[in-house]
Amino acid sequence: MNPEYAIEVHDVKKKFRIFYDKGNDLKDRILFRNRNHYEDRWVLKGISFRVRKGEAIGLIGHNGCGKSTTLKLLTKILYPDSGTIEMTGRVSSLIELGAGFHPDMTGRENIYTNASIFGLTKKEIDKRLQEIINFSELEDFIDNPVRTYSSGMYMRLAFSVAINVDANILLIDEILAVGDANFQKKCFDKLREIKAHGTTIVIVSHALGQIEQICETSYWIENGLIKQSGTPKTVHDNYLKSMEIKRTEQLEKQHEQEQNQEIKNSASVIQKLPDFCEKTAIRMGTQEIIFTDVQLRNLQNQKQYIFDTQEKIKIFLQYKSNKTNLKGNFGYGIFREDGLHCYGTNIMIETGECIPIREQGELEIIFQNHLLPARYFLDIAVHSHDGVIFDDIRQVVSFVISSDKQDIGVCRLESNFSWR
């Protein structure tokens, strides 16, 4: 093994035997011999990577892609069916925090038990004891039984032990969600510190931001193979894009189902809403002008429910009226799912005049979207110039905004950072 590397994984494959109906005892095995059908599921189909000493890598992928199995192989809880894993130095894992904690023993006693499971001798634990206690911020409680601890305190103690083992290789599975924000920051700083001391780190996480902050390389695992590796930012962008496509597909499907459901349900609604409305829509007005269709479209004029934060959105309206001498003030409003009023305007505000109403007419409103990912409702209304409501439909359609950018808030404020 090249001394430059701390971990070398070569073409590792791992299968799990899935029993359809496993008989564990003698009776089951003999009586139901033919029931012992099983299927080999290959969780890892040939994974190879190398980690330099002092390097930090992240393993990402959706649930069940094999990233946790990879970590378990590195921990030597599981063993590969083929391929080799070579590692140098002491390995510590932050996979199971608080392993072997005994609720009736004090925090201090549990430090000894827990640290001993990581292979530390009494002398080594003595040396680290104070640091562990300090880090956990549990000075006042350290001689109380662990069962009296809150779950946050419990995790803090466990994390403090695991991180103070002084391993050469540290394996972490999704555990940086320990304690309050303050303690999380402390954990993160500690991770950076031990990395600076030359510890090799492997992180499995869904918190891509954390990986980007600490790792040099990210491995995207999909269906038991490494799909892409490289700088975290690049890999994560591709990963998020692919996740987004999947999610969008699912949303579309869901939306279709909802629409179908609505059609079925609408028959039972007393005041029947037209098909283009959400079933939660509320309609009011004098009905001198009525909307006959409301759609959201993209600029290619295709009906659409999922838009990107940056996308231009077209509201397409059709109406009819039994009077032709009216003038109408058309307007719309957008509410977030939780009721936040995001935006609203009408044609009076925009152009200063109402438009003449015809027997049948169409209207298009195109707006530049800045809203951030969430589910939204569109309200639509047509009033007279002095405020008589002809038709007003609240929550007429819903739509979803998605984005692969991680900014937060209500809407995107295009930001440019410059520095000197």
Binding site: L78, Y79, I95, T121, I125
Partner: protein, 261 residues
């Protein structure tokens, strides 16, 4: 391979200590007399045997209570190591499936805690031997650690073997409890081997690793004589064989422990 394992186990010695400590402390946790039970329990056992075999069921063997006691305490160590040890890996499945450590630690810690428990009980044995007026042969007493060590090896080997098997075959635990029940009658614990009149069958008894061990204990503590060298040698042979077999099977099976838990 073997050397690596020994090195690793040495590195994890603190884990073994802390498991043994936890086990010994946990055994009488919450009881008023606590650790004293380690002594009270065998003491009363002895008193009951003394009464039983003096008045209710008198035995032809002189000081039968002592005759029985010096064999029974080692036997209890063996049988509890076997039964509890077989369950030791399963009992810690939350550790085994989540964290790495040499899996051998678990049966070793269990058998060791039974062993330490036996050592404490030996304080009572020595007291009784001293009080009962049986002569004490100090050179023979020096052989005691040897036979204890041999018994430890046999018990550990079997604990390794059965703890690994139990993970994949849960019935083993219950089968073992029946085996140990029968095993005590295949070992001269309750009766002298000479009770078996057929010499050929007597020889067969020596195939049982515990026969030589129990005979040696009794030689030292009851007859106050140095055990025969062949007896010790046979026992030692069994100890080595048991360890090798146990670790061989254990090392083959341990890699798949986490998968079936």
């Amino acid at each position: 391979m073997m050397i690596n394992l020994c090195k690793e186990l040495y590195a994890y010695r603190e884990m073994i200590f802390s498991l043994v400590k936890k086990d010994l402390r946990g055994r009488y946790k919450g009881s008023v007399l606590g650790f004293l039970w380690t002594f009270i329990n065998p003491l009363f056992q002895l008193i009951i045997y003394t009464i039983a075999f003096s008045f209710i069921l008198p035995s032809a063997i002189e000081k039968y209570y002592l005759y029985l006691f010096v064999a029974l305490i080692p036997w209890i160590f063996f049988s509890s190591s076997l039964q509890g040890g077989a369950n030791s890996v399963m009992a810690s499945q939350n550790l085994v499936s989540k964290i790495y450590f040499p899996r051998e630690v678990l049966p070793i810690a269990y058998v060791t805690s039974c062993f330490v428990n036996m050592l404490f009980t030996f304080i009572i044995i020595f007291l009784v031997v001293a009080c009962s007026g049986v002569s004490i042969n100090f050179i023979a007493i020096l052989c005691l650690p040897i036979i204890m060590l041999i018994e430890y090896m046999i018990a550990l080997g079997l604990a390794l073997l059965f703890s690994a098997i139990t993970v994949f075959f849960r019935d083993m635990e219950h089968i073992l409890s029946i085996i140990t029940m029968a095993w005590i009658y295949m070992t001269p614990v309750l009766y002298p081997l000479e009770t078996i009149s057929n010499v050929k069958i007597q020889k067969l008894f020596y195939l049982n690793p515990m026969t030589s061990v129990i005979i040696a204990y009794r030689d030292i503590l009851y007859y106050a004589k140095i055990p025969d060298f062949p007896t010790l040698l046979i026992a030692f042979g069994f100890g080595i064989a048991s360890l090798i077999l146990g670790e061989f099977v254990f090392s083959k099976l341990k890699k798949r422990f986490a998968e079936v838990m």
